[in-house]
Amino acid sequence: MSGRRNYEGVAENSDILHRDMLQRMWLIRSFEERVIDLCHRKQLAGLVHVGIGQEGVAVGVATAMGDDDYLYGTHRSHGHFLARGADPNGLMAELAGKDTGCCRGRGGSMHIVEVGRRLMSATGIVGGTIPLALGTALVAREEGNVVAVYFGDGASNTGSFHECLNMASLWKLPVVLVCENNGYAEFTPMSAHTVVSHVSVHGQPYDMASQIVDGNDTLAVLEAARNAVVRARDGGGPTIVECLTYRLRGHYVGDPESYRKADEVDEWRGKDPIRRFTSVLRDRGAVTARDVRRMEESARARVEDAVRFMQESPWPSSASVADFVYA
């Protein structure tokens, strides 16, 4: 589950691929559950947003991308990055602010980067990576690569998102705009932040391709993301892939969640993407109950390795506080 994934020679919808996807979903889930636990124990600091319940989107999109394609995240991107092969050790150490973190402890949860895997950056500024993605797409289109960028329903209210829809369509940039529509911007439900029913309708004025999918149906996300990646690579321009999903935890670790009902959360717990994907694979005979248990265990073990790595890692030296400001 670490190192560069390479699906060459692996059939598009083979069991082996799907099992790997499920394994990655477990890795993300275990990682983030442990992150919450570590926050509560004060072993991690910072403002931490987890995407528990949204792993299907992360893994579906990552699986559709080629190794040389670029990815941009949001403030809630542990899963986006792990799905694409980010090193759990470096990520965990980064969240703790250790010198072995992927960003040497300078970034933190909202500002993770792993440039070797073309994980170009996450951001604490809602919608902030969308223009970055467009700029990288200027480069990617010369290389035959594609850029995917995540954003939320809340981000669709930022002006810059619309500026980018215009420019991406004007120049037919190879960009996949992945909307994780989880129905909330912080504590504000979508119905209170816009009259629009689906974020992807914003593409219509620009005749932009778009697709709405059940974001908790991992294979549906994969399929939609593949179409979008192919379109982008073939010069067909940008696509909005709107994934309808839900965050099962609070907006940030520590959120008292006064703004939503337990019922609603329960209902969505029933649609847990990991559970759903597992039953698809089990029904198909692609995994046994034992396989699944092993996956979970191996994910947890991998996460414990990361925790150990983090705990044993040194802090950055105080004297280095102003390093990396300039070239």
């Binding site: 600091a45 910072g46 403002l47 703790a96 602010g97 250790k98 973190g101 960003c103 402890g105 300078r106 970034g107 933190g108 949860s109 909202m110 500002h111 951001t123 604490g124 500024i125 809602v126 919608g127 809340g154 981000a155 209210n157 930022t158 002006g159 911007a185 912080e186 504590f187 504000t188 209170a192 932040h193 816009t194 940030y252 006064s258 703004y259 802090w315 950055p316 105080s318 004297a319 280095s320 506080v321 102003a322 400001v325």
Partner: protein, 324 residues
């Protein structure tokens, strides 16, 4: 006298002014549930959604809306959540809110309060921890205050709401749950006077917001070492109460400015320049400045600690200034 938290001071100020004056309205992201820190909790239930407007994530336009409501007679209080996001609202703030009175030759009035929360606390990283006040002191048409305690949070916010110009109201996240005594609810202080927190004779320490408490701690330590420091809490960052500063420096002959913002180009630069312009002959040493190094705010707790000035550094710097 009652003790309340800084955050309660803010809420009470808004509540009282909303009760008193129906033209006061609140706009901002998530203000309906109180925002991430609960400052505005309960207001929408009490004053309705025409006066407490929960907005989408649209900083520049919210700033513009608040301005457009202000010139038509409202007194909007807009919450920008983290000062880092005011970067998205600079055009409306600087090009319109700050300039409309002037550009209209005095026809328009912009009674607007912009609440901004800031400070490097808890490892929230480079995009949620900046101190950007130096930008705004340089913008004619804006005023700016930064309370260091619950009493000023309450009093200065009420004064800001009543003021007829745009006032940036800087709240420090690291002070939200600090408790202080509050004065008689009838009094609303002046918006632009500094306060001598601790009187002293050897050295004037000019500071504001959370750093006031580092300075107060440092003063206690310095007293033990025989150095009597006078702490001035600026409270108003624009305009500056230069009279109070200069009078103090003329007595102490030494000035040290402390803020959490990056030193280079910070508010300390202006204060230092002004002190030496007006009190040059009284100075026994250069005006010194303590602040953050020239770097973004790091997320790592260890680095954040190294980044933010503290009482120990103040003590060391003061000792060096005064000499043995």
């Amino acid at each position: 006298m009652a003790e309340i938290r800084y955050i309660d001071g803010l809420r009470q100020a808004i509540e009282r002014e909303m009760e008193r004056d129906t033209s006061v309205i609140v706009l901002g992201e998530d203000v309906a549930v109180g925002g991430p820190f609960g400052v505005t909790a309960g207001l929408v239930e009490r004053f309705g959604d025409r006066r407490v407007i929960n907005t989408p994530i649209s900083e520049d336009s919210i700033m513009g809306m608040a301005t457009g409501a202000a010139i038509a007679g409202r007194r909007p209080i807009i919450e920008i959540m983290f000062i880092d996001f005011v970067t998205l609202a600079m055009s409306q703030l600087v090009n319109h809110a700050a300039k409309l009175r002037y550009m209209s030759g005095g026809q328009l009035s912009v009674p607007l309060v912009i609440r901004l929360q800031q400070g490097a606390v808890g490892g929230w990283g480079a995009q949620h921890s900046q101190s950007l006040e130096a930008w705004f002191q340089h913008v004619p048409g804006l005023k700016m205050v930064a309370p260091s305690n619950a009493s000023d949070a309450l009093g200065l916010l009420r004064a800001a709401i009543r003021d007829n110009d745009p006032v940036l109201f800087l709240e420090h996240r690291g002070l939200y749950f600090r408790k202080d005594e509050i004065p008689d609810p009838g009094t609303v202080p002046s918006l632009s006077t500094a306060k001598i927190m601790t009187p002293g004779n050897d050295l004037t320490i000019v500071t504001y917001s959370k750093m006031v408490w580092e300075a107060v701690a440092a003063a206690a330590e310095l007293a033990q070492r025989g150095i009597s420091a006078e702490i001035i809490d600026l409270r108003s960052l624009s305009p500056l109460d230069m009279d109070t500063l200069v009078r103090s420096v003329q007595r102490t002959h030494h000035a040290l400015v402390v803020h959490e913002a990056v030193v280079h180009g910070g508010l300390g630069a202006e204060i230092s320049a002004r002190i030496q312009e007006t009190a040059f002959d009284w100075l026994d040493a250069p005006v010194y400045r303590l602040g953050a190094p020239f770097a973004p705010v790091p997320a790592s707790p260890v680095l954040e600690d190294a980044f933010v000035p503290n009482a120990k550094l103040i003590v060391r710097c003061a000792e060096q200034m005064i000499g043995p």
